[in-house]
Amino acid sequence: MPDSAGARRPYLQPLSRSWWLKHSFFLRYMLREATVLPLLFFCGCLLAGLYSLSQGESQYQSWLAFMAQPWVIALNALVLLASLYHAKTFFELFPRVMPLLPAPLMIAGQWLGTLLVALFLLWLFGAIG
């Protein structure tokens, strides 16, 4: 390419930090990515639980008490919602990446799978059956 700048002066609009506010599509994307924050909290809880278990019965009891506080429950409810939302977006994207079957079928299949795993775990820990 001949390098004639001539009268050229291309203008490049820098991408503003708030680019994701420009459009509802980007907002939804950011929401999807943000679901990781509540999940972090949940993982923290879990790790604390494990640690407390290794520290003996009383430690574990106080962890249980901590977990029973209303605001912790509320936060964990949020975690559940967030991961459901994330699962929804993930399940919808997956058939596009691995187009094995018609998309609606694959999405339904994934939800069914989730349900089965959830039931199995519940059964395993004796919550049902």
Binding site: M1, P2, S4, A5, G6, A7, R8
Partner: protein, 589 residues
Amino acid sequence: MQIITTDIIVVGGGGAGLRAAIAAAETRPDARISLLSKVYPMRSHTVAAEGGAAAVTLAEDSLDAHFQDTVAGSDWLADQLVVEHFVKAAYQELVQLEHWGCPWSRKADGSIQVRRFGGMKTERTWFAADKTGFHILHTLFQTSMKYPAIRRLDEFFVLDLLVSEQQVLGVLALQLNSGELFQILAPKVILATGGAGRLFHYNTNGGIVTGDGMALAYRHGVALRDMEFVQYHPTGLPGSGILITEAARGEGGILLNKDGYRYLQDYGLGPETPLGQPQNKYMELGPRDKLSQAFWQQQQAGLTADYQGHAVVYLDLRHLGVQKLAERLPFICELSRSYVNIDPVQQPIPIRPAVHYTMGGILTELQGETSISGLYAVGECASVGLHGANRLGSNSLTELLVFGKAAGEHAAQSLPPMPRSQSTAATEQAQTQQRRLASLFGGKQQQSIASLRKAMTLAMEQGCGIYRDEQGMQQCRTTLVSLQQQLAGLKVSDHSKVFNAELIQYLELSFGLEVALTLCESALARKESRGAHQRLDPGLTQRNDQDFLQHTLAYRAADGRVALRYQPVRITCLPPAARVYGAAAKQGA
């Protein structure tokens, strides 16, 4: 002004230009090949072709049959030697494209599928879904990226050829994004600038199809051949001219006038075929020129309808049903819904004929050579002699490949051994042009370039349209000459350098007017009716082989006027016969 020296210049990045550049690069990988185009190559109008590309493929087909269809289709004005060469080379070229990755449509066993096409007796048209031109263009464009020898100069507008003593020296081009002038020097220049459909008001062509290359060559004394032959396509959308392909009629679409009557039966195309049973060469599947002519007759008789100020007839697809429309004609349904806001399931589509293809062009030999040494022309801008008075659909895409390759190879093989030193003749010409360019700028004008262009396209539609007569063409000529004068007095009011749209439109219009004049003069002088050139004047409504089995050659005289000469038609084995369709064809056969 910057100077670039190179070995081969290709002007045009459509199918023809890309094929030529690749052929040159394969022949001489060490050569420097500059591919110039006023738009990015993949924007070229080859992209819009839908139907397909012809080559003898099936066992029951023969080269002879393709030859005969082409010559008969041309109303015996094709150069038979050229047609012979073409039908022979066609198949290998389509295979070559397959090897480069073109996604041709296939039969269940994985072999190439061929379809029926207007004017061809047997199935021999290769296609890639309903986007053949698109796939050909992108396959060629992407393949061209493989060759380091090919250097693209995207968005370079060629203003002039540099020529001295009948030898081409290069081109003068404007880089659109900087407004800089470039002298690009090479011993070989291949013009592949496409057709001139935009000279007419109603056309199926893209905005860039303005006949530039034809004018470039013509201004340097090369003849434009058979310019009077312009193909109308019977089914364009009103206003935009967007093409509704033949496939719509092939599937069983019918044409109705404003009273809902299938008028084609009144014009030698009957008898009426039953609904849903289309038959090749009858009624809606008659040849393009006859269908367009029937529209004109209906318009004269006051039987066309009005769609926002455009005279139209209707393409009715409703009887095909939702299912079939969605399956077989999805693109057509989409176009109709988008561009005329009509759902073909519910309502008939308003359509009218629109200029589709320029059969004429720069006179060349078999390998694309012109009368200027080192200068070649290929593709729609050229007249190698394949189409005569009427082109068969699907021959032209193959033409781009066959003759693009021939020209590219020939240019590469005959490169002079030594790079030439810079030429003072070229520099002088370039400087003259530079001064001329500078003189085009001025203050704001009463008249706009857009209004002159519109006047030209309307004049052409009226004077040199589907049917022509002496008086109308003379009127058209007078208008064109006056427009040329008005344009010469006009100034470009936009003084900017970067992407100066007004300047480019000025230059395109000045090219276009020049080409339009050759078209009009050639048509005036052809006192007969043949193929796409149909006259109404008494005594001239029939073909006249006695006097006009000849090519028209239009030259630019010293005073700027058009000078005409004639050239005999090369006939190798198929003597002229009548060209008939519908029931008449059956009687004759």
